[in-house]
Symmetry: D3
Subunit: 246 residues, 6 copies
């Protein structure tokens, strides 16, 4: 994160090393194209809970799983044009403590993101995901506090978006933003293809993008319609401050 | 609505003839300044339920109440720069039927609004308000239907916002948009002062605007903060389609 | 309602002629003992939907069902010490229109109740119940309007409570008030026994009262505990205005 | 509905003449295969609001739209093995009144369904859909009432399921049942292809079925997994009565 | 748990040593009769928070309380036909950490349950109860992870049910399953009678069973009705996968 | 807390040393006037997260911030007539563990409060606030347990109220109690003025009190209205046990 010459930045906090691809790959590529520095933090590799295919190989060890998962995630980040770092905190369960919060707060302060992306608030299938969101939200609050490491530049109030979980209705996740990613779909799909260990998800998340694309067209309407084909859904945590309702 | 030379328009559907002032006066003035044609439809004058002060005058009749209420609302609309029309449907209770829906659908099709403002979805203190919203929403749907008055230009999918009710928490209303109206506050307050019959609300809604202003600053943060003093809150019905998350 | 010499009054709006007994019999008897005039309005006799036992008798007609139901309800009201009137609007489905609302508004204005009891807001098993609540709520609003029958005394803002439906969780009903009815249980049970056509409900609602009684004791705690045995649950619609939090 | 020789039946109440195909085609075909008489009631043809492609043809009239829509729906019902009837009530807006409720109650009583399928409880994009559900629910209640057309056989308490709306999260629809329709997918897709006027929805609802299929597999788990490929989601209104939790 | 000869099993995770009796005793006895191995895990004895009657005896110590509570629970489990184990983690507050999660995950993997029963998701009167549910849910997720103790047999996706809390509405608990326990009520009541320290709850939970029994009959309907007298309510966490909607 | 000669007491648990002033100052002063011993527990000084103005002074240290914050809070408590103690647990993040819970349970048992005030259940802007509520709620439960420090006097079930957060709708906070604090407003405003470090909040919370005052008048109604000018809103956690619905 030393090369922070860009004025605008976005932060993606991913519980496991592949989540950012399926759930926010389009947003990352799109904002990179628009000049943002996009930075991805993988809290874990998902080595225990989201690497089933690797574990079915003979002679597999946790170290090998992590290595493969890191390679895949680095390749995907590169395809999207983003920087990436790995905190290697462990998964299933992902831990939660003040050290992690302070580490993330440091990242917020150095990056000074204009917006933040992380997981849904609830997920009965996956407790690491909402825990990552909790960490990301609390770190954002700490990074705003004048009394935390006084002298550092505090952060403002960047919008915080929850990206799409695997079974959205079961997670009580409801998108209030549909992001048109048609122009960067090729990059997202290239990143998806880096995830060799989860090939069963490639077509699942391609269909998600197509469904959200149809829905995005529905929410603009016939008269204004651009040719939206692919989209990503997001749920906002905070109200949007604007001067334009159209 | 004959003078529809502007390319962009906004529609405000107000249950009673004063609601648009307290709840959306800033949005109206702001978008007028930005070149929008803003059109206000008052479903009733609020002659029975929201004219207590007038009724306490001796010799008052419903016709006189309506006349005064219309004068006040016309003056307020003028102060905001908006056009206004009165459907005179009666209030307490506001009626709801297909004729009203079709009449509103005609207005949608003629105006082709880029966005629509109406009341909250619930209000245990006021049944006319959510009924107005229901009418405004169903008319929007009818105006989208190819088979309704075939040959007319249908409308797209304009965003629909619920403006702030009198007791927001009791109405389960939660703003997800904070609109900075600092630059047009003088116009909103001029419109508020046209409402001679409800002077007790002037300061109430000034305080609402100041509170929402403080909250808007909080949701941008110190580093980006503009000098927001006054704001209005809105709750979206539909997801926003965008290419920018910042 | 001519004998309105009492200063304080309570209004009960019951969809069918037996609902007030099971759901609010304790509140009625308790407030009668405390000097309130309690007035019950039965919107229908429940002749079609809640008189199964009667319909299974040979030669039964709707007129006979109504007659029996009225006799039972009058006896129950007498046992509780309340006045009662029957609007005979029909049930399954209960109608809803402005005439009914205005008629109820007249009752509000004449009675000037200090509080109002009606059904839950939702009930997937019974559409008449929430419709009665809707009528009772909208009539309350009309009765508050200065412009409705100007010259009549308007009502204030009496608290509005939803009494317990048959399957509370399925109706999304959540009691925030537990009313100790131990001292009047004998009157409530006497009223219950007037309902010859629904004997299967006697023990059901006795158990409801016992369960709510145990819960009421739990919410006072051991140190303050009175000997509460029977209680009724209510859900408030509006915030309570008070000077005492204990 | 004369040929009611089957002991078991299911009722599908569809706001417009195509909804049953996209949303419940699999359930219909599956239960037909299992020996159920499946009966579809189309409240309207969707002639005004859901026939955009037809209206873009020159010389189109409402009568012609209805005719085409009926032909398509009959073909689809035949492909699924179900009977179908058309109430031709009009759409956008779909009306709601006691006559319709009584007509549907007659259908309930004649068919004596073991379960009922209709739309979601909410839909901000389509007011006809929840109105159809409301009619279907209230008719079910009327059909249970001993005092409605005494002498007729009343219905029991058939489970009521809401099928999937077009934008599920926006409708606050959450499936608690995933129905495996893999074995009848070919029939559902044949029915889908009967809908010539809405070709843009074919692939949309194929993807819906694939996504629900993946989710169904997730909710059984690896050890029990059957080869589920296609599924439909449903939301129950009432609790399920059972003797088996596995 | 060595005697795992049964093919089918169910797991009950109880915060304190008596909860399984009041809340799930019927489900346990019923599934034992149907050939399931039912296994109960008591996270604590409830020695601090749910043994008031014992503590009022002179000379009582925590060790004695635990001993009595264990004897009662063993007797109840035996009456129901279930195996039982005690983790003795302490109560008020019940702890929560990874060691407990891993221990429970081991139990999941050894038992391979077809379904799991634990507490409600919320309880403002009792923080141990939802914490037990949280532990039970997270352990289920860990037990599904290929990377947790690789080589062990992972579990599938057993349905997870929340049994009834003491004050159901206050816990936002809503049953979507009503289990007919009429045939095993004698066994459940025998187990209840083993709980000498909480005699005040015997009749409370007998009434709960009777109320749920009446409700179960209501949700089948008159025509299909079996003679259900006693039932237990459950709230599902996950969607049910099925091929039958009747 | 040694001087516990009063029979009645109230407990206020404040995450940071100023929260009790803005959010509950009126309730504190009002109950002191009514003879209650009101005791405030400040879990932290808010030294890191809520002392921005102090940190902008040159040479500021955490020790100095705490000192100033304590002085301000002591002065405010004195202005309100309450006792106060400081646990100095640290903020941003506020810790949560059993030691804190047991310490608070000791305070509950010594004070034997008739009611408890703390923060809202949710706050996406401030994680310390709901954490304080969680600690306050769990400590209340522990203080009720016979097996916690046997021999001490346990507490009953004091009502628990959540006071108003900074952005109420965003916190899903909904007041069901409006407390008339008009008679003690001068004391609350005196306490507010002790908070030299947060002068920007003085007028914000004056406006909050005025808005809640207008709303309180609305919820009594014209006929009964006292001259309420200032009020505070509270959300109850538990149902109220009463014998009076008016």
């Amino acid at each position: 994160m030393n090369d922070n010459t860009s004025n605008k930045a976005g932060l993606v906090i991913s519980a496991h090393s592949a989540d950012f691809v399926w759930r926010a790959g389009g947003a990352i590529a799109l904002h990179v194209e628009r000049g943002y520095k996009m930075h991805i933090v993988c809290l874990s590799y998902g080595e225990r809970g989201e690497s089933a295919k690797l574990w079915r190989q003979t002679g597999m060890t946790e170290a090998k799983v992590k290595q493969v998962r890191e390679q895949e995630a680095r390749a995907a980040a590169e395809a999207l044009g983003a920087s990436i770092e790995f905190l290697d905190l462990g998964d299933y369960p992902l831990p939660s403590n003040n050290d992690i919060i302070f580490r993330l707060a440091d990242i917020y302060r150095e990056l000074q993101p204009s917006f933040v992306l992380s997981h849904s608030l609830h997920d009965p299938y996956n407790y690491d995901h909402p825990r990552a969101t909790h960490l990301a939200q609390e770190a954002r609050i700490i990074a705003q506090a004048e009394g935390h490491n006084p002298g550092q530049k505090i952060v403002g109030a960047p919008p915080f978006y929850c990206f799409e979980p695997h079974q959205p209705e079961q997670c009580n996740w409801k998108p209030d933003v549909l992001l048109d990613i048609t122009s960067v779909w090729d990059k997202k799909y290239a990143a998806i293809q880096c995830m060799q260990g989860q090939e069963h998800l490639w077509e699942y998340y391609t269909r998600v993008a197509l469904q959200r694309g149809v829905q995005a067209k529905r929410n603009i309407g016939i008269t204004n319609a651009k040719n939206i084909v692919y989209a990503e859904g997001y749920q906002s945590i905070f109200p949007r401050v604007t001067e334009d309702l159209a």
